[in-house]
């Protein structure tokens, strides 16, 4: 049973699914990134996505009436895309107007737009179809899928895999991943991008050199509305062909976190979105196991909270290290502190897994009927819980104080290697005998520790 899931995870189909479910997180993430860079984080992404998704569905459905069936089917999706994005832009303009000109609170205006998007779509849907759940009575259309040319399959080694992953993906998926690079170029290689970042980092300084702060922020909010609109269109027209009430399902909020998790760069946001996509796709695939669907569904959200914590801690450590660099001047050992920082991240990630383990055990213990009855679930839950808490506690000193990684590097190494080794062993047990898995797991984790900084620590000590 587990083997089936693991096989599924490492198949091209699964990777394709990750790309598909990453798209509606990635597009608004880019919007959030740009607005955040300009210092006006767009909280209203969710409402804008919903409005665009709904408009796209309605326009594409009605265009068949307006222009006749043939023409309607041909131009419907494009018209839906266009008007959906326009509606999203309009909402972001309202947000910008209320925040920048009428001095409204950005956060609360954003919430207002989310409420508006959620309610207006349902109200209009009710008027049009008499249904308040979804638009299944409307014959809405879909964005085109892109077929790859057959010869790609014949490329040796990677061709088949590559073809299976990228063939028959929605156009919007391609748009999303290409947009990452466009946004990268715009942010870091154009005057506009530089102004935008300057405005976000220090508005007064930017204003003092003659940048029109308000105008840049207007643009930033409009661009974020544009990406939110694209994301919304993908949700209702990219893979499905209907609109459901509140179908964005919190993606607009997840998108607010991914830029920070990705270190504030488009590529980083893409990687962070893919991690969420992975969890999303995993939640769908894991449905074949006998565990309550609520558990895998909630893990991405839980992981976001933990990731926020890691991000906050990491920012603090970087600040500390850079202070030390300023203080100690030429004597600063950059490589050494760099490896300390990397090892501290590893510590945090391991603790994050431990917390997720503890939560899982809590879920098992509080609803044993979902995990095959009280008798089977209770021991498993207790073991997972105890192990997670122990792994969490032994990691805690090194996260609380990164200097202890330097002072007690042997203990730190032991903790990382053992924790990581246990997780890897659990995973490898699916393929090998338990003992062999343990050996391979420990060797692998030692290698990881050595590569990311252990060698520097050993030399330094």
């Amino acid at each position: 049973m587990f083997e089936n899931v693991i096989d599924g995870i490492f198949s091209a189909v699964f990777v394709a699914a990750i790309l598909r479910v990453t798209t509606p997180i990635l597009l608004p993430s880019l919007g959030a990134l740009i607005s955040e860079k300009a210092g006006v984080l767009n909280i209203g992404l969710e409402g804008m996505m919903l409005s665009a998704a709904f408009t796209g569905v309605v326009v594409s459905a009605y265009s068949q009436d307006w222009f006749g069936f043939e023409t309607g089917v041909a131009i419907g999706p494009w018209l839906g895309l266009l008007l959906g994005v326009c509606v999203s832009l309009l909402l972001s303009f309202v947000l910008a107007l209320f925040h920048l000109d009428l001095k409204g609170d950005l956060f609360l205006s954003g919430i207002a737009l989310n409420i508006f998007g959620s309610s207006a779509t349902v109200a209009i849907m009710f008027e049009l179809t008499g249904d308040r759940g979804n638009t299944s009575t409307l014959a809405s259309l879909q964005m085109p899928f892109i077929q790859l040319p057959e010869f790609i399959r014949d490329i040796p080694l990677i061709g088949g895999f590559f073809f299976d992953v990228f063939d028959n993906q929605s156009m919007m998926t391609w748009v999303a991943f290409i947009a990452v690079f466009i946004v990268s170029i715009v942010l870091y290689r154009t005057p506009f991008g530089m102004h935008l970042r300057a405005v976000g980092e220090n508005p007064e300084a930017a204003a003092s050199v003659g940048i029109n702060v308000k105008r840049i922020r207007y643009y930033a909010l409009l661009i974020s509305g544009f990406f939110a609109g694209l994301g919304g269109i993908h949700i209702s027209m990219g893979y499905l062909q209907l609109f459901q009430r509140d179908m964005t399902n919190g993606r607009g909020f997840i998108a607010l976190v991914t830029p920070s998790l990705g270190g504030g760069t488009p590529i980083g946001a893409m990687i962070a979105s893919s991690i969420f996509g992975f969890f999303d796709a995993l939640g769908i695939r894991i449905g074949s196991l006998e565990i309550p669907s609520q558990l895998p569904q909630s893990i991405p959200y839980f992981a976001t909270v933990l990731a926020l914590v890691i991000y906050a801690l990491q920012r603090r450590i970087s600040q500390r290290v850079s202070e030390m660099r300023t203080a100690s001047g030429a004597g600063f050992d950059a490589a050494f502190w760099g490896s300390i920082q990397r090892i501290s991240i590893l510590h945090m990630l391991l603790m994050m897994v431990a917390v997720i383990g503890a939560v899982t055990s809590g879920a098992i213990l509080s609803a044993p009927n979902g995990f095959g009855g009280a008798e089977a679930a209770a021991p498993a839950g207790l073991i997972i819980g105890a192990a997670s808490i122990i792994l969490f506690l032994i990691g805690l000193p090194f996260v609380r104080n990164i200097f202890s990684i330097r002072e007690n590097w042997r203990a730190s190494a032991l903790v990382t290697i053992v924790s990581l080794g246990i997780y890897l062993t659990l995973f490898l047990m699916l393929f090998f005998q338990p003992l062999l898995a343990l050996v391979i797991g420990l060797v692998l984790s030692a290698a990881v520790w050595f590569m990311i900084g252990g060698r520097v620590l050993m030399r330094g000590a």
């Binding site: 209320f98 508006f116 009710f126 308040r132 607010l256 976190v257 309550p292 914590v309 979902g370």
Partner: protein
């Protein structure tokens, strides 16, 4: 000439100063009493016998008096700000009316579709002709512009045969009272020339001459003498709908809808109960947000805290069927508050000690809490034979005692009064409250002044959690009396509006909660009575938030008053605003 002591009022105008000093109290008190009386009057149609005949009328009066007290507090606390809040609500309602109007623009369409019948009435001898569509005095019908069909019928032209000198009456009418179609009818000869036409029937025709007619919207060509033998055509279709009709129909439908919205909740006692019980939850949630926002912490965790409060109180209720209510209910209240406290502590600690963004963390924790609630409900609490996901009904001892018969207005009313008083004490009269206010107005200043801001931030989010947990308890043990999926229906966001409308003033939250719950209850009746979607009220809500936060709108409108304010009272609008916020 005598000396005036310091602080003594000048003798010349003691009455005026008394009035000025207590104007707010008088206005507020009068408004409160008037509203209380108005509500009692509407509820019982102004008859005292009806009132005293109702069970628990004294409790209804008590609750309505509390509503009046909320209005009093609202006026006294917000002063001029009260006008702004009311104006905002009125503007938002007007915009909502506009939306309803636009949605109702299609309500005149019903005149253009529906089932109909046509008939050629004549006393003359029928002709023997099977080629034609209609025979004398035989009804034939169909449906015009039927929705959701490929080729709807938009007009008919049916033939009949007649001889010269036959006197015929052509009828086109709605099939029954369910069909609102407004018809016109024409008599055409074989070449297609129109011989006679009619759009509406007269009252006498409807009432006396022709039994089949339903209303004056039907069309009749009465007593026409056919000029010659031959085949004639009866042509009928729905009348063109005039723009005026469209507008007036939309207007009257919108008026109907808004009447249900604005007066619906106080028409009958059971509807009134829907309003009050909803208001209790909303006020608790609004209070939670008001406390947290006061420290400038944009935590939206109330939803998750509500779920945890409901879960804990539900589990206790399900597992203690034999404990008397007088012990059990206080215990449930404490437990749900504690659950909310703990679930509020998590994002509080993350924000205070690690700097994790509270907005995102609370939103994520909300989803985690919801899923956890669903999982426990689904796999642990649901009775094995239950057809849908819900726990068993709570036993009587675990349900909050009802104080008004036939409603779910419970002792939570008194709990609410206590919560409001305690929140007020906390914010205004304790050192912690002082620290919360300082942190809210200037975090750096608070740090500089020696406030332990981390501890305070953590605590304020946890305290907000207590109140949200109580809201969950009220939903579980007061309203639903069992645990159900989606127990909150995203109420938490509505709590944000309540807190904002009250300008984060805990004494005003009860009023704004009542106001907003009133709109929500009204929206339910609007949907039921006038077929306008409930979501219109959530759109109104969004507009309220936008308007209330847009500070520049206020400065724009108050700019003209500014000078007068300085002259009269010696301080500016800004200082008044600052005073309001305290």
């Amino acid at each position: 000439m005598r000396f005036k002591r310091k602080g003594e009022q000048p003798d010349s105008a003691p009455d005026v100063s008394f009035l000025r000093k207590h104007l707010l109290l008088i206005v507020g008190g009068a408004a409160g009493i008037i509203v209380t009386l108005f509500m009692m009057n509407t509820l019982f149609d102004g008859s005292l016998e009806k009132m005293t005949g109702t069970t628990d009328w004294a409790n209804i009066l008590l609750v309505n008096a509390l509503v009046g007290a909320c209005i009093f507090l609202f006026v006294v606390e917000l002063k001029r700000g009260a006008i702004r809040v009311l104006l905002t609500v009125v503007v938002a309602l007007l915009l909502g009316f506009l939306v309803t109007f636009i949605f109702n623009l299609d309500s005149a369409d019903r005149f253009g579709r529906g089932e109909f019948r046509v008939q050629v009435v004549s006393d003359a001898e029928p002709t023997e002709n099977d080629e034609v569509d209609l025979q004398f005095n035989k009804r034939r019908g169909g449906e015009f512009n039927k929705p959701n069909v490929v080729a709807p019928v938009s007009e008919i032209a049916w033939t009949f045969a007649g001889r010269g000198g036959d006197v015929v009456s052509l009828l086109a009418y709605a099939k029954n009272r369910r069909s609102d179609v407004d018809l016109l009818v024409e008599l055409r000869d074989a070449s297609g020339a129109v011989l006679a036409a009619a759009t509406s029937a007269s009252e006498t025709q409807v009432d006396e001459t022709f039994d089949d007619l339903v209303s004056v919207k039907d069309a009749v060509i009465a007593g026409y003498e056919l000029p010659a033998d031959g085949v004639y055509t009866l042509y009928a279709r729905p009348e063109e709908i005039a723009t005026g009709t469209v507008l007036s129909e939309a207007l009257s439908q919108s008026q109907l809808a808004f009447e249900a919205l604005l007066l619906g909740p106080i028409e009958r006692v059971n509807r009134w109960g829907v309003w009050i019980q909803d208001a209790i939850t909303l006020i608790l949630l609004g209070m939670s947000f008001a406390i947290v926002f006061r420290a400038q912490q944009f935590s939206l965790g109330a939803e998750g805290q509500l779920y945890f409060g409901a879960l804990v109180s539900g589990i206790i209720a399900l597992n203690s069927p034999n404990i008397p209510g007088i012990i059990l209910i206080p215990f449930i209240i404490l437990a749900s508050g504690t659950a909310g406290f703990i679930y509020g502590l998590i994002p509080g600690a993350l924000k205070a000690y690690l700097g994790a963004n509270e907005l995102v963390s609370t939103l994520m924790l909300n989803v985690v809490a919801t899923r956890f609630f669903e999982m426990v409900l689904n796999f642990q609490l649901k009775p094995p034979d239950a057809g849908y996901v819900a726990s068993a009904k709570f036993t009587e001892n675990a349900v909050l005692p009802v104080i008004v018969d036939k409603t779910q207005v419970t002792v939570a009313v008194f709990l609410l009064v206590v919560v409001v008083l305690l929140s007020w004490l906390l914010i205004r009269r304790t050192p912690l409250g002082y620290e919360i206010r300082i942190i809210g107005s200037n975090l750096r200043f608070a740090d500089y002044g020696g406030v332990n801001s981390r501890r305070t931030i953590m605590l304020v989010m946890a305290i907000g959690g207590i109140v949200a947990g109580l809201a969950g308890m009220h939903l579980a043990n007061g309203i639903h009396r069992q645990l159900i999926l989606n127990i909150s229906f995203a109420l938490a966001f509505e709590g944000v509006v309540v807190a904002l409308l009250a300008r984060l003033n805990v004494l005003v939250v009860p009023f704004t909660g009542l106001l907003y719950a009133y709109l929500r209850a009204g929206a339910q009746f609007m949907e039921r009575d006038a077929n306008v979607s409930f979501e219109v009220v959530r759109m109104i809500q969004a507009i309220i938030i936008l308007l209330i936060t847009a500070e520049a709108l206020v400065t724009f409108f108050q700019a003209r008053q500014k000078r007068a304010d300085i002259d009269e009272e010696g301080h500016t609008v800004e200082s008044l605003e600052a005073a309001d916020m305290n």
